[in-house]
């Protein structure tokens, strides 16, 4: 197995926990892994990206354009921003959540509409979900990051039980039930989507 996974979003959305979970799942699957994180200034509400590379032997910690198998996106504008990194035939699993960046807030730019459809029109496999709603229904919108992992589970390439155990190992104990609930609900939601 060889998977290049990108986790993209807005600083403060909990992308680091998601990368920790995927890193753990890779280790528990007996694979080599590199996880590259963003620290410092760009975390302050800026566009953030974490690279997770999994395989028998991994060297580079980052993923270039046209090289990601999966982009896990916490915010739809960020999905579109990082689309060039997706490999032809790759999959974007994105939250439909919209967070206005400062140029939009100040009126210097407009938030583009219909981004999911734009990406689909390019032939990209885009799976857009209201991740915060799925997480909220499971108990807390804060579990959106774990819900997104569940929604992408079939393309991430890990054994489902290993992935679920990784979630359990990485989320804080007090939020464990809510997160596992969100994970399971997301798996079910993705299955419905597939059958629809």
């Amino acid at each position: 197995m060889k998977k290049n996974i990108m986790i993209v979003g807005v600083g403060g959305q909990g992308t680091l926990l998601a990368s920790k979970i995927l890193g753990r799942a890779a280790m528990d699957s007996g694979l080599d892994v590199k996880v590259s994180e963003v620290h410092g200034m760009s975390q302050r509400g800026g566009s953030v990206v974490t690279y997770v590379r999994v395989g028998d032997e991994v060297y580079s910690p980052v993923i270039g354009r046209g090289d990601a198998d999966v982009i896990l996106s916490f915010e739809i504008l960020e999905a579109a921003r990082w689309l060039p990194h997706l490999k032809p035939g790759g999959t974007i699993v994105t939250s439909t959540q919209e967070i206005n960046p400062m140029p939009v807030i100040t009126g210097a730019a407009e938030y583009p509409e219909g981004l999911a459809d734009d990406m689909k029109a390019l032939g990209v496999d885009v799976r857009a979900y209201d991740a915060p709603a799925i997480a909220a229904a499971a108990g807390s919108a804060r579990a959106s990051n774990v819900a997104l992992i569940g929604l992408a589970a079939d393309v991430l390439g890990f054994d489902l039980a290993v992935l679920r155990d990784a979630v359990a190992a990485c989320v804080p104990q007090k939020a464990l039930d809510v997160n596992l609930c969100a994970f399971d609900a997301a798996i079910a939601r993705a299955a419905e989507n597939k059958n629809a």
Binding site: V10, G11, G12, G23, R24, M27, D32, V33, K34, V35, S36, E37, V38, H39, G40, M41, S42, Q43, R44, G45, G46, S47, V58, Y59, S60, P61, V62, G64, R65, G66, D67, L77, E78, A80, R81, L83, P84, H85, L86, P88, I99, N100, P101, M102, P103, V104, I105, T106, A108, A109, E110, Y111, P112, L115, D118, M119, L122, G123, V124, A141
Partner: protein, 573 residues
Amino acid sequence: MKTLLLGNESVARGLYEAGVRFVSSYPGTPSTEITEFAATYPEIYAEWAPNEKVALEGALGAAIGGGRSFCGMKHVGLNVAADPLFVTAYTGVGAGMVIGVADDPGMHSSQNEQDSRHYAIAAKLPMVEPTNSAECRSYTKIAYEISEKFDTPVILRLTTRVSHSRSPVEVGARTEHEIAPYVKEPGKHVMMPANAKKRHYVVEEHLAALAEFAETTELNTVEENGTPIGIITAGNCYNYAKEAFGGNASYLKLGLLNPLPKQKILDFAAKHEQIIVIEELDPVIENHCKALGLTVTGKDVLPLCDEYSEELLRSRLLGIEPDYAEVGAAIPGRPPVLCPGCPHRGVFYTLAKLKLRVSGDIGCYTLGAVPPLSAIDSVYCMGASISSLHGTCKVRGEEDKYVAVIGDSTFMHSGLTGLVNVVYNGGNTTTLILDNSITGMTGHQDNPLTGKTLMGTPAPNLSLEDICASLGVPRDHIRAVDPNNLAELEAVVKEEVAAPCPSVVICRRPCALLKSVTKKPPIQVDPEKCVGCKNCMKIGCPCISVVNKKATVDQSMCVGCGLCEQMCKFGAL
């Protein structure tokens, strides 16, 4: 059993296993976590020093005192620590000493892109560089062996992608190193000319011995694949090269960056038709190869600026361009912004409103420079806000109105001497110290003003008011204000800018991200009262937007700081 460790975490593990007893550092992205993780081992004494020079001198003293020591910093921190750095090559160490320096190619979180390898050459110190987390641990341990064998501090060079990547590490046990008995050696440690002159010969002898060591050390490895192409590389560039070329090239991976081997490189080059040197930033290895008489491919096709990637190497060296899609719509940028509830927001709103020229400094508050606040005129380096403004004021006089803005931790790092200069040389600048009770940008580290040490023990509560008074700022021109009280802040800033003497305005409110800060209920908008004037938008809060000519406040992000309430003239917020 392997565990997934951050590069910096793995360096800390190496420090622990190497029996290090003393760590002193100043936080700086991407180096900060080394010291934070080191502090989690009870066997290691770890501290935040006020700046990198103090940290390096502390580590030198600990090593001279017989305990293995470490100090960590980002690349620009090494500029601050350069004075003691250069002399340590002459004095040597007692127990092993390692200086961890994290460069930031691509400037993810820095003001420049300097290449620390020049420091190793200039200061005549050995330098090692790991390529992944496993090597972060093992090279750290080897660095202590080199340090003690050659009686010299060793620089451990890291880059952002190695420091901030996680990869598997097999950890080991700690080996204790007993404190060596203290020996008074003035000829080695009193660096006055008569002694230093003799020591310079010793430095050169050490370097010659290290040059021999470079030919045989396990840090420099050859991966011979019988290919026409031979790649000489180091650090994370090795990873990019392996991804781009795989088995289609042979590799000389240099783990010891100073001194570089000669014969090893010549032997490697002799086996290959084309030698490609792959190194980020400056052509240090390339120039070394050229000095050896080799013809190499390097900066003639690879850039001097920005970080490298597998994609870059494929494009520039193999002519392979990526295949990708992009949407037609313009994607607005998403620059970092001051957080909701940030106590700096009101300060920059006020300074912009008063049309003051603002000399800024290094920290979260540098974000006061970006729209819509756009309040900062200049940012150079730690502490330069006060000292550079002093020079500007001396040549321009009272023609314009200026202020310097500096954070609490940055003020203790290198703002103190700038303020002394203002007082001593009869300046009358106004300095705003943004005291948010923490070192914010690097992720909440304690500092001499927070009343707590890195190891969690209580520290004396230093008073900024008393410090500024002791430096000579008149007591009645040292004013403390709550920056979220816009009316008071504006009045105080106006008064102090007009004052004919040095003045300090302490804007005191804790960082909104601190766990000890309780969030207030989010602000509600009364749509009946809102006239859509957009005055509330002037503070650049990411929670506020105007939809259908009415202000809306993002209820999930707002922490109820109340700044927007003060902006609204219609009582709608």
